[in-house]
Structure formats: structure tokens, C-alpha cells
Symmetry: C2
Subunit: 340 residues, 2 copies
DNA sequence: GTGAAAGCGCTAACAT
DNA sequence: ATGTTAGCGCTTTCAC
């Protein structure tokens, strides 16, 4: 295999210069020298050894992306966005399906720390009732394990890094408010598991919007399911065995809303006439189902790009505290709410 | 950070012994020595440096998974299966969305070769008319680049490794045969892009099953769309503007079939009465949509496990030729075909 | 069964 | 502006 020594020899320079050229630093290289090196690299088909580089720099251009499950289209969307942003910045991404299991997440954190990953992006973090990432994971990440950390949920206790979350309360209120404008009063909710912080926030948005409209949330039904469409389907199918005690439903995720829609179809309901639906996330499929889903859109592509940026920044300037950034969401009106 | 030297010191042994313990070889270690080392590792919370290990071994326990796009639920399923099988065997997986673009695929191959990846798993390979992985990718992988290679499509020209494909012809014939048994004669096809080998094979299965039933395929309509549900939706929506020249449709992938179903719903068609559908792949969602999809199931979990096994074997015994394995598929009968 | 030491290929501090 | 070289942490061949 061709190494940096071969390149140096071929270019008639020292090995250091080759490094300087490849890394654009840390020191300048004369234009013609640089050209010779570049030629040698091309001629020889030289490809740097990432392991050697990582060993020497004590850091690998690698980002660990920990999601519950890429099988869920929402997380697939996140994964795609993160991968894309990472590639643009020269990072390679390791995919980890944590299945929301603390042990699996902790195992991945261990692996990635051992790999000198440049950073970790944690998505769908909740495992414990407190909304943390689970005891083992938290322990590993706490007290500055030294890895740049970006979480789409609250950070593990004691860990430093940044949290990147949508404005869940406002977003949910936007959704529910729209339903109110349609004249609905009995607006039920199908939420996710309350151990997720995002879920509790969306809960609150629902409550606040109702209260603002002089509707008592306490009188309205609340249901729960996991984030996937399958369990949402089951929950809704069950509800459909008796008359629905609501005329509209705020659903925490598009994924769940799609399950609801399928259940309604299977039961012969006509949407949005028999039931209006507004959900949250903004996955592509929202625009495909019938009726097309009105949904609060979170700008995942931008958030993913931001996450990678933050990792890059944290590499340069290790953070010493916990930061939170809230991304605004927008209501995308389609048909499931009752509009046109 | 704690290194192997620390462990050796703590355990009162040499660094070599620590390696022997960690790697279970290549040489035996006395039971009590091993125990001391293990204790030291635990006490110190030692985590091996993957970069150093990779540099020394010239190989990293890393598998590159190149799919067109994890956004597509089928590929998400494959990714999940590969990730799961990889973790079980101690591999970490790098996710690469190639978007079916040769340049992107080639870039990933470069990166992964530079990372001393233990192997590559290529999914959704076709880019060129000949069904190869694209010129740049092929060039990189040809003539034994040295990486263990498993492809879910034909290998690039000149590359050695193994191809793992479902029995597409038989599977498709199974699907179409079932439609014939339902009494259908006008069985159209919505296929994928014909530059994919799998597509051409499914085409053939359709033709053969029709011919076997004394139906002339040439008289039947064939449509094409990309593999995603969105374009399939568009194609079907277009077809629905005029009377359908078929009573049943063999669709190349569940993903596309779901697009078809959505289009039919949007147009008010009643399935499977107005149109019977059978598709291919066996994604989870097939069982969720209305009507539930009858589909030819390929055992992705097993195939993924096999792929990782093959990588492992090729690491030990570099292959010198191209091998192909065909996995049998089974027809999973649900409702979209007209059954109950 | 165990220890010592020579790399693996690259980075960056130290020379010039 | 460029050359020289000491590591980075681990594997594995030699010695013992």
C-alpha cells in the first residue's frame, strides 16, 4: 500500500510537508511544493490511513449518531440529514440503533469513545422517568467524558454539551389552536410516552392552547402510544370500537398520526369530516397520506446541520456548561385539519 | 486517559499479556494472570484505543453499509438488520447514503478503504445500464481492492466477493401466479428502474408466470417508477385519470405498492375489488395498510446476518472469485390480492 | 507462559 | 518554507 512516505519521496519533499498539504496546515507550504505533493498524491493514488491519523491526533473524524431505531421514518429522516451534513464537513457517521435501551446506548457510547469519535449526537434519549438517557449512559457521559455532545433531548445529568430541541410547547399550541379555529371544542390528544421530555412539552402546548380557548383540558381524553405508527394504529383501532368522545385529535408525531389514519380507513371513517387531525414533526409522508396531514414542521435538515456544526465547534472549544437551543416550528396546513 | 500500559502495570504483567487477554490470543495466558489483567481492566475502566488497534492490525472492526437512502423504509429495514448483526459480531457500522450516485458511492468506498474497514456491504447498487455500481466505484473495487465485499446486487465488474440476492424470478412468479389463481388475466406491472438487475429479474418472473398461464405478457401494460412510494403514487395517480387497462397489478416493491394504494384511496377506488395488488419485499408496513398487502417476503434479517458472516469469513480467507447466493422467498398472503 | 521491542502511518513540535 | 523526529496505543515477532 502507498503511504505518506511514498508520496514524500515521489514529490521530493519531507513527510511533514505532505501532512501540511493534506491538512491545510498547521503551517504554510509554498505553492509549487504543494503542487508537487498534490501531483504525487494523485499519481500514486494515495489515500491517508485514517487509523494512523486518529491515533496521532487523538481524534477521529467520526460522529456517532445514536437513534432509537432508523426503522422509524422520523429517525430515518434525522439520520439522512445528519449523514448529509456530516459528509459535507468531512465526517463519517456511525449509526447506532439504541432501541431506547440504556445498555445498548451505553455500549455504543463506549465503542465511540474508544474510537476517538469527534462527537456524539443523541436522538430520542429518554429512557428513565426523569427524561435522562438512562443510568449507565448518563454515568459514562457525565462529568465531561470529553466528547462533544449534542442531544435532541435534554442532556444526561452532569454532562456538558448542547441540547437542540424544537419549540415543542409553542408548536403544539399552534396545532391545537388551529383545531380550535376550525370550531372544534372536543380536542383529544394521542401523545407519546410521557417519559420523553418532548412529549411532556407537547402535552403542555395542548393544555395551554385549550385553556387559552376556555376549554378545560381535564375534560378531554388523552391517549398514549409509542412513537411508531403500529402501536398508534392499535390504540386508535381500539378507540373506534365505541363512539369517539372527541371530534379532533392532536397527535404527537406524524408517525403516530399515520397509524391513526390507517385505523380510521380500516374502520371506514371519513377524514377529516368524522375526525380532524393535526400532528407534529413534518415527515415527508405527511404529504402523501389521505387526507394529507396538517402538521407542525420542525426543520430537521437545519437542526442536523446545526448539530454537526456544534460538534465541530465543541471540538475546537470544549464546552464547560450545558446549553439549550430551541428551534422554532411552523404549522404546515394541509387537509387533515379540515382545511379545504 | 488510561492505556494498555497502565493496565499492564496495575496487573503486574507486560503489555503483551494484556493484548493476549483482550484478544483471546494469539497466545495462551495463565488463568490467574488473565484474572489479574481482567481485574485491572475493570478497576481502571480501560477502553482499548480502536485507532491504535486498527493501525497495528491494518484492519478496523468496521463495516461500511452503502445504501441508496435510509429514508426508504426498505433500506431502513436492511440497515437495521445489518446493524444488529454487526453489533452481535463486534462490528461497528458506518452508514452511507449513496443516493444512487456513482460519485458518492465511490467517495464512500474511498473513505472506508482509508479507514481499513473490515468489509463493505453494498445495497441498491445499480447505477449504470449494465447494472454495475457505476464506473468510479467499479474501478475502485475491481481487481481485488482487498476489502471483503458483499453486495445485494451483482458485484462491480472485476471485483471479487459475494452477491446475496433473493430469488427474484421465482418470487415474482409466485406473486403473479397467485394473481392468476384469483382469476385475473389482465395483470399489469409497476416495476422499478430497469437498470437494476433485481428489477429485470422480477420483470422476468412476471413474464414467465403469465406465459405459464397462457397469457401473452406483450399485451399487458408495464409501468415504471423509482423505488419510493412517492413516485409510484404519481404514476398511479396519472393512470387513474383514465380507465385502468388491467384488473390486477404486480408491483416490484412494497414501497411502490404503498404509493399505489394511497393513490387509489385518493381516487376513491376500492381495493382489492377494483384492483388487486401483489408486491415484493416484505416490509413491516405491508401489514398495516388497507388492504393489507400480499407480498413476496425476502428474509432480510437472515440475509443481513449472512452478509456479516461472509464479511467475517472473507477477512479470514480472502476470496479469489465471484460467488452468488440466492435466497428463497415466500409469498405472504394477506388481503390486497383479493383473499378474504 | 511471559517480557522486550519493533513497527503500523501519521501529526506536530522542534530544528534549520 | 521545509526537514527531522518523537511519539500516539496497540499487535506481534523474537527472545527467554
Amino acid at each position: 500500500l502507498v503511504t505518506r512516505d511514498d508520496v514524500a519521496r515521489q514529490a521530493g519533499t519531507s513527510t511533514a510537508v505532505v501532512s501540511y498539504v493534506i491538512n491545510n496546515g498547521p503551517r504554510p507550504v509554498a505553492a509549487d511544493t504543494r503542487a508537487r505533493v498534490l501531483r504525487a498524491i494523485a499519481d500514486l493514488g494515495y489515500q491517508p490511513n485514517a487509523a494512523a491519523r486518529a491515533l496521532s491526533r487523538r481524534r477521529d473524524d467520526l460522529i456517532g449518531l445514536l437513534v432509537p431505531n432508523v426503522d422509524n421514518p422520523f429517525f430515518a429522516m434525522v439520520a439522512t440529514a445528519v449523514e448529509s451534513a456530516s459528509v459535507d464537513k468531512g465526517f463519517t457517521v456511525v449509526l447506532g440503533n439504541t432501541r431506547n435501551v440504556d445498555a445498548r446506548r451505553a455500549e455504543y457510547v463506549t465503542t465511540l469513545l474508544g474510537r476517538q469519535a469527534s462527537g456524539l449526537i443523541l436522538v430520542g434519549a429518554a429512557h428513565e422517568a426523569d427524561g435522562s438517557h438512562g443510568p449507565r449512559t448518563s454515568e459514562m457521559l457525565a462529568d465531561n467524558a470529553g466528547v462533544p455532545l449534542v442531544s435532541f433531548d435534554p442532556l444526561p445529568d452532569g454532562a456538558v454539551g448542547t441540547t437542540l430541541m424544537p419549540q415543542n410547547v409553542k408548536g403544539a399550541a399552534l396545532a391545537v389552536g388551529h383545531l380550535v379555529e376550525h370550531g372544534h371544542r372536543r380536542i383529544g390528544m394521542l401523545g407519546g410516552p410521557p417519559r420523553f421530555t418532548a412529549v411532556r412539552e407537547r402535552d403542555r402546548g395542548w393544555r395551554e392552547a385549550l385553556t387559552a380557548a376556555d376549554i378545560a383540558p381535564g375534560d378531554l381524553p388523552v391517549y398514549r402510544s409509542r412513537f411508531d405508527r403500529y402501536e398508534a394504529f392499535d390504540v386508535m383501532a381500539q378507540l373506534l370500537t365505541t363512539p369517539l368522545p372527541f371530534t379532533a385529535l392532536f397527535v404527537h408525531t406524524d408517525e403516530q398520526a399515520i397509524g391513526v389514519i390507517h385505523a380510521c380507513h380500516a374502520a371506514g371513517l371519513s377524514l377529516p369530516d368524522d375526525l380532524a387531525i393535526v400532528s407534529f414533526d413534518g415527515i415527508r409522508e405527511a404529504a402523501l397520506v389521505t387526507p394529507r396531514l396538517t402538521s407542525v414542521h420542525q426543520p430537521i435538515v437545519e437542526m442536523a446541520r446545526r448539530a454537526v456544526d456544534l460538534i465541530e465547534q465543541q471540538v475546537a472549544h470544549p464546552p464547560t456548561s450545558r446549553t439549550t437551543e430551541r428551534t422554532p416550528c411552523t404549522l404546515v396546513v394541509r387537509e387533515s385539519c379540515g382545511c379545504s
